[in-house]
């Protein structure tokens, strides 16, 4: 998985490189748009969105069509000045947004142009993104029906098979009758299909035995697989109280995993963010791209927050999420050991979470899966005084033995011993 990610990003970089090489001199427009995004993020994004939703200030979709470019230059560079000069549009906006002044931005006209171009470009891109989201959702819901469909196919095949056999039998019987008539022999005895079947079995015991063995082994294999899967919930994807999308937050918006799951770096549990953390952004972002206000309103309900007055009430209720990754009680797992000490990427165990719209269990979380990884994974020994000390104590013989393959794995330092996880 890690390797896959790596090659992916490599491809991405190569493409970017070729792209830049080809267009660096000729297309200033693209550069401007790149700059526009950067500028928008650093100067505008804290109060404005590129869509039509309102944060602190209004959504900026269609802003260049609504106002003259010159007016926009003046407004952005010195909105208070414009209001003071008595400009009607400026005063109207100021009144509409509760007289919250927009601070003067240190940007020049070219930069403003770049920003406005970027806003325009994102308007064009937005509907496309929504389609993508919709597609993945439908995909994830349709997945469940596949096993039923398979059963119908098998049943259909069996019925078809029986029909073909009975037709063939009829044909064969007719042929035999015709033949008997032709050679003047006695008509073959009329026999039921079942009798014929048993006769055939009696005549071909070896083949029947072989077929039975094959069928029994197949059933046994199915049974074994089913038994092995007991307690394994790979792909477990329960419905959550809030339709939170990691794809949107971690993928599209690129929020670091540790921003919300901060305790993964220092605690046993990664932690589910408390709603007050959500409010760092959602105080302003009150509308999502797919579900609009409905889902975000659930955070507000939990905190008893009024999005209009921006005041908190006292009737707070916690959000009851459904736990996706469940380990048995007799297993001790510590996130910080893996994240901070082992420097393991979240995706290694949780899969490409940034692509999930609904959280799901990506790996099997079985003990075999843990142990396999502990056998292969190299211990991050560099610049860690703890491992320096441990390494220093190793006798030369063992050092040589461990370092035979050039690495010291987790299991070589006792990482597959029982009491590392069970106590």
């Amino acid at each position: 998985m890690k390797l896959l990610l790596f090659t992916k990003s490599k491809v991405h970089f190569q493409a970017l490189f070729v792209f830049l090489f080809l267009f660096a001199f000729s297309t200033t427009k693209l550069v401007a748009q790149e700059d526009g995004e950067k500028l928008f993020k650093s100067y505008c994004a804290s109060c404005h969105s590129t869509g039509s939703n309102q944060l602190v200030g209004p959504g900026l979709a269609g802003v260049s069509d609504k106002y003259e470019r010159e007016w926009l230059y003046n407004w952005i560079k010195d909105s208070q000045g414009l209001i003071a000069s008595g400009d009607a549009d400026a005063v109207a906006i100021f009144e509409e947004f509760n007289k919250i002044p927009m601070p003067a931005q240190p940007v020049n006209n070219e930069q403003i142009d770049a920003i406005l171009d970027f806003i325009k470009a994102s308007e064009a891109a937005a509907p496309a993104a929504e389609v993508v989201v919709a597609e993945t959702t439908s995909e994830s819901t349709s997945g469940d029906g596949s096993s039923d469909g398979g059963l119908f196919v098998v049943l259909g095949l069996i019925i078809l098979f029986l029909i073909v056999i009975s037709i063939l039998r009829g044909v064969s019987h007719s042929i035999q009758t015709v033949r008997a008539e032709q050679i003047g022999a006695q008509n073959p005895e009329e026999r039921t299909m079942l009798q014929a079947f048993f006769d055939w079995i009696n005549a071909n015991k070896t083949i029947v035995a072989l077929i039975s063995i094959v069928i029994l082994s197949f059933v046994a294999k199915l049974g074994w697989d089913a038994a092995v899967d007991i307690g394994i919930y790979t792909g477990y994807q329960p419905e959550q109280p809030i339709k939170f999308s990691h794809k949107l937050h971690a993928g599209t918006n690129g929020i670091d995993c540790n921003y919300c799951h901060s305790s993964a770096s220092f605690s046993k549990s990664a932690g589910i963010p408390s709603p007050n953390l959500c409010m760092n952004c959602h105080t302003y972002i009150q509308e999502g791209p797919q579900y609009g206000k409905e889902e975000i309103a659930k955070i507000y309900a939990a905190l008893d927050f009024d999005p209009v007055t921006k005041k908190y009430g006292t009737n707070q209720k916690p959000i009851k999420w459904v736990k996706v990754h469940n380990l048995p009680d007799h297993v001790y797992f510590n996130h910080s050991q893996h994240v901070t000490v082992g420097k393991i990427a979240c995706q290694k165990c949780h899969g490409p979470v940034e692509e999930f719209t609904v959280g799901k269990q990506h790996e099997s979380l079985t003990m075999g899966w843990c142990i396999d990884c502990h056998r292969e994974t190299k211990v991050q020994m560099t610049d860690n005084g703890y491992y320096d000390e441990i390494h220093k104590r190793l006798p030369e013989k063992l050092k040589a033995q461990y370092l035979e393959d050039g690495t010291i794995t987790v299991s070589e330092l006792g990482g597959i011993e029982c009491a590392k996880c069970h106590y």
Partner: protein
């Protein structure tokens, strides 16, 4: 072999009784209890269920269970709505606070997880207790989750709101106050500066009323306070420094367990018991019942409590003669020679000695002060200027209060931190007097004997939910802070008093104000109060400048004291009232951990009983051996006219002949079914010489002919007669002899000549040496006093289940750690037993306390016999137990030479048989569980894991910070709880670690090393400061 003493755990073993012979070879005292779930055999034979039916049900059951198991469990994960900054799921927080319940004082750290206190540890910053705790204090976290606690205030037995409660009290109180009525506060000892200020303010607010605080200590040191008032003009307890004392003589003072400041004294005592320093204190103990302190003494002299006055007077005379002071009147007693020996040793260490007495008789204490004064101990080992505030109760004031109450002149009585209906002598008639008080208010956290007699019950929070401060010693201040939001609708006494005074400020503000105006004002380290407060709250304590030692002038009247003290009342029998190590004064009798902690001396759990010398018991025809099949005999006992019926008699080696002993603090209802454990002995006490006497000569008993089941762990888990488990020597041999004299290596003869046992191996060497860590432990038998603090600390850290009396009787206690108490006697004494000797070995045996838990053998016998490899060895030297792999064959337990493995016979956490007493049976009690440790299922083995969860956490912290593990930062629960620092834990591969040094010391040995187990737990030979070579 230099040591040929005989060691025995009980009278059974000493006498090698047939039942002991039979049981000692059994790992499990009985077969698997199939009858329990199949009913009795008759029923089974007459059953209508056919075999076929049985198989059908079984088949259906198995299928149903496996189908049910296939269903995906839906677990919810609920984050905080608004997360506080420092509370993160999975991370433990520690808060410094202090514990004082009127008896024990200790500076502690409370470990909380997800906002729940789960463990009590000692505060290592404390110069008093130095990180030690005792069993009562580290078990106190469980009392927080007691389901019987009051959930709201009560009026006339029904729950009311605080508004209603306060309104009705204010109405009645203001009527009393305005007409100048008598208001009395009956409290335990209070040394909180803020509470004392508040009470003073309450008094001055109503100058027209007659308000008075009366301090009542259930276990009183009133005699000592009054003696110090007479001798030095201060009614206080002195501070002692046992670490400087080379000679310690205690006359009935159990300073390791029940005496005020016992944790502090225990630590001081142990620091003077290190033979490596070249000297060791010598400890003489004169006592009647064998106490924890007596069991650790170098010289223990059994003497009746009624003769303690004479002992002190004779000791006074002996010293007075040598220093040239005038002698006092003293009755002649038999043990003159032994008193002189003690006196001689005291004189040889003038200025570096201590004489202590536990008596509540003023005259004895005056004489003791006189002796200490002659020895020049004041100013060196005893400090009156920087005194202790831990006891303040004067018995005379209490009895006059009760007289006032009986006369009907007390209008209002507030009872705080006391349970007088349980603890007052019956002759005082407290309950009758209480009925005559117009307004009686009881402050209590759970129902008790007093609350059933009072109309108003103010539900108080546990100390872990309260604010407070403390001043246990002059210049020593500590804070008490809540570590959890109050679980129930409770209010502390101080907050109630504030609201009754119509003050809007909370007690928290009040404490801050006290500290700002007094302590902050007199210091220079912080400029701002907020800074000062936060620092002190973090540390939990504040030490202001100590008082300058002023020259002490002793003004006690020794001659009148002596004539009073050495009066001898002769009687056939006398009885002593003592405190047990687990239950103490009975404040926490409702705590199942403490009830299940075997008493260090008798090893009996869940009971109160009458102790008697074994030879006395035999003479009176009482059983001297107890087990699952053998019960104790019972008697009807009458003390001071108060009768007890059907109480068990226990033969206790070391009990002075002609004396009895009974523990206080029992007889309280505990658990969901309000089961009464033991009987209450307090009412039988009586006033004598103006104070409540801790013994009585007015005692008689009659055998009832009935018997009583006793749950004792005395002979459980014996080590098959391999008595090399204990090694001891005396100071001379240690100082002048070589290692071979007191700690010889085990040499086995082989075909190649004699070889050290460590050179002979059945298996290849386990690669623990030099690879990474190698965890090990060293236990100093010289420092271990057997107090059991480690046992309860282990229970709390490792979720060890409570099994109850019946299971303990069947040897099924689950404690991972036990303290083996071996009695020993010199071979000559045992020989003499066959002749007509005066002294039998059980009359005054020596005692060794040996903590025993999994020895984490590098060549563990348990590991090789496990058929499923559920117990294996780690590269770090830990013998790992994997519960999810264990199938419960119990081969490992059979093969363990140390008998430290425990089998889970039942699901203690949900089987209704354990419902009454097991705290983890309800949601409240489960809050105390350590979330890092599995709650073991039925049918698996468990044992000490060397607190692997603490090791893993410690290693992880080091890894995260990118540094090596610092010696001492990882400490097992037992090591951190030990008040004497007898247990050292660490990495044997770290050459500079304390445990490595200990393992290489001359006193270091390993238990049953001769069988080649190579344990990772080292013990240090016990060194006694005795004259004759006992080795």
């Amino acid at each position: 072999m230099s040591n040929n003493k005989k060691y025995w755990k009980g009278v059974e073993e000493l006498n090698e009784t047939p039942s002991f012979q039979e049981s000692k070879n059994k790992e499990f005292s009985e077969l698997i209890p199939v009858e329990d779930f199949l009913g009795d055999a008759n029923l089974l034979e007459n059953s209508q269920t056919t075999r076929r039916d049985f198989l059908k049900y079984l088949g259906f059951g198995v299928t149903a269970a496996s189908l049910a198991a296939c269903e995906t469990p839906v677990n919810k994960v609920i984050p905080y709505v608004v997360k506080t900054d420092k509370t993160s799921p999975g991370v433990a927080n520690y808060f410094a606070t202090s514990y004082f319940d009127g008896n024990d004082y200790c500076d502690i750290l409370v470990k909380t997880r997800e906002g729940r206190p789960i463990k009590i540890e000692g505060n290592k910053m404390s110069p008093l207790t130095k990180g030690g705790v005792n069993a009562r204090i580290n078990s106190s976290v469980l009392s927080l989750y007691d389901g019987n606690r009051f959930k709201s205030p009560m009026i006339d037995g029904s729950a009311v709101s605080w508004t209603t409660f306060n309104d009705s009290i204010k109405k009645e109180l203001s009527a009393i106050l305005s007409k100048g009525g008598k208001v009395r506060l009956l409290t335990n000892t209070i040394h909180s500066p803020s509470t004392l200020r508040l009470i003073a303010e309450f008094k001055s607010n109503y100058p027209e009323a007659d308000i008075k605080q009366v301090t009542y200590d259930a276990i009183s040191y009133s005699g000592m306070l009054e003696a110090n008032l007479e001798s030095f003009g201060k009614a206080v307890l002195p501070s002692y420094n046992l670490s400087k004392a080379k000679s310690i003589v205690s006359i009935g003072a159990d300073f390791m367990s029940s005496f005020p400041s016992s944790i502090e004294l225990t630590h001081q005592y142990a620091s003077g018991r290190k033979p490596e320093n070249g000297w060791m204190s010598k400890h003489f103990q004169f006592e009647s019942s064998m106490s924890l302190t007596g069991s650790n003494a170098d010289v223990r002299v059994p003497v009746k409590t009624s003769l303690h006055g004479a002992v002190v007077a004779n000791l006074y005379n002996y010293i007075a003669k040598k220093v040239g002071a005038s002698s006092v009147s003293a009755a002649n007693i038999e043990i003159q020679e032994r008193i002189e020996k003690a006196g001689e040793h005291l004189l040889a260490n003038k200025g570096a000695s201590i004489v202590l007495s536990g008596s509540n008789d003023k005259s004895i204490q005056v004489l003791v002060n006189g002796i200490n004064d002659m020895l020049g101990n004041y100013g060196s080992t005893i400090d009156i200027a920087n005194h202790s505030n831990e006891r303040k109760g004067i018995d005379g004031e209490v009895s006059s209060l009760v007289k006032e109450m009986s006369a009907g002149s007390v209008d209002a009585l507030m009872m705080v931190g006391v349970n007088p209906s349980l603890t007052m002598p019956s002759s005082i008639n407290f309950n009758e007097a209480l009925g005559k008080v117009k307004l009686a208010i009881s402050f209590a956290s759970r129902p008790n004997e007093t609350t059933t007699n009072t109309k108003y019950i103010a539900a108080t929070p546990n100390y872990l939910e309260s604010w407070g401060d403390a001043n246990p010693k002059t210049g020593y201040y500590a804070l008490i802070q809540p570590t959890i939001n109050p679980l129930f609708d409770t209010k502390q006494f101080e907050d109630c008093l504030l609201s009754w005074m119509d003050k809007s400020e909370s007690y928290y503000d009040y404490i801050r104000a006290t500290w700002e105006s007094t302590l902050f004002a007199n210091q220079t380290e912080s400029v701002f109060f907020g800074d000062f407060w936060n620092k002190k709250l973090h540390d939990g304590l504040y030490i202001s400048k100590p008082e300058v030692l002023e020259p002490i002038v002793f003004a006690g009247n020794v001659s009148s004291a002596a004539s009073q003290a050495s009066k001898i009342v002769s009687s056939d029998w006398e009885i002593e009232f003592y405190e047990k190590v687990g239950i103490g004064s009975g404040n926490q009798a409702s705590n199942p951990w403490l009830q299940e902690l075997p008493d260090p001396i008798s090893k009996i759990t869940w009971d109160n009983y009458l102790v008697m010398n074994p030879s006395d018991a035999r003479e009176n025809g009482f059983a001297t051996e107890y087990g699952e099949q053998k019960n104790a005999d019972t008697v009807n006992l009458t003390v001071n006219g108060y009768s007890f019926e059907n109480i068990p008699v226990i033969a206790q080696p070391g009990q002075t002949k002609g004396t009895l002993g009974v523990a206080l603090g029992y007889g309280q209802a505990i658990g969901k079914k309000n089961e009464v454990i033991g009987f209450n002995a307090y009412p039988a006490m009586a006033m004598n010489n103006g104070s409540i006497a801790k013994y009585s000569t007015d005692v008689s008993f009659v055998a009832t002919g009935e018997d009583y089941q006793i749950a004792t762990t005395q002979t459980h888990h014996t080590v098959m007669g391999r008595t090399s488990v204990v090694r001891e020597t005396n100071l001379d041999t240690f100082k002048n002899g070589s290692k071979d004299d007191y700690n010889p290596a085990h040499i086995l003869s082989t075909g190649d000549g004699p070889k050290d046992v460590s050179e002979i191996d059945l298996w290849a060497e386990h690669p623990v040496k030099k690879v990474g860590h190698h965890w090990g432990m060293s236990i100093d038998l010289n420092a271990c006093i057997g107090c059991g603090s480690c046992v309860t600390s282990c229970n709390s850290e490792n979720n060890v289940p409570v099994v109850g009396k019946d299971e303990v009787r069947r040897s099924r206690e689950m404690h991972w750690m036990r303290i083996d108490r071996y009695f020993s006697s010199n071979p000559e004494d045992v020989e003499q037993r066959n002749y007509t000797s005066m002294e039998t070995p059980e009359e005054n045996p020596q005692v060794v306390h040996q903590p025993m838990m999994c020895q984490h053998c590098n060549h563990a016998p348990c590991e090789t016999v496990c058929p499923v490899a559920a117990t294996t060895h780690s590269d770090e030297g830990i013998n790992q137990m994997t519960y999810n792999r264990c199938i419960g064959t119990r081969y490992c337990a059979n093969n363990c030479p140390y008998k430290v493995r425990r089998f889970n016979w039942f699901s203690y956490q949900n089987l209704n048989r354990f419902e009454a007493l097991n705290p983890s049976q309800d949601d409240l009690g489960r809050m105390v569980l350590n979330p890092d440790v599995t709650v073991r299922a039925r049918g698996v083995m468990e044992k000490c894991s060397l607190c692997v969860q603490i090791i893993q956490t410690g290693k992880l912290e080091a890894k995260k910070e990118g540094r090596k593990v610092i010696d001492g930062e990882i400490e097992t629960a037992c090591a951190s709880a030990c008040p004497t620092h007898a247990i050292t834990f660490g990495d044997l591969n770290d050459e500079s670690s304390l445990v490595r040094k200990a393992s290489e010391s001359n006193r270091s040995y390993r238990v049953i090393e001769e069988v080649g187990t190579q344990p990772n737990i080292y013990y240090q030979v016990k060194v006694r400061n005795t004259e004759t070579n006992i080795a």
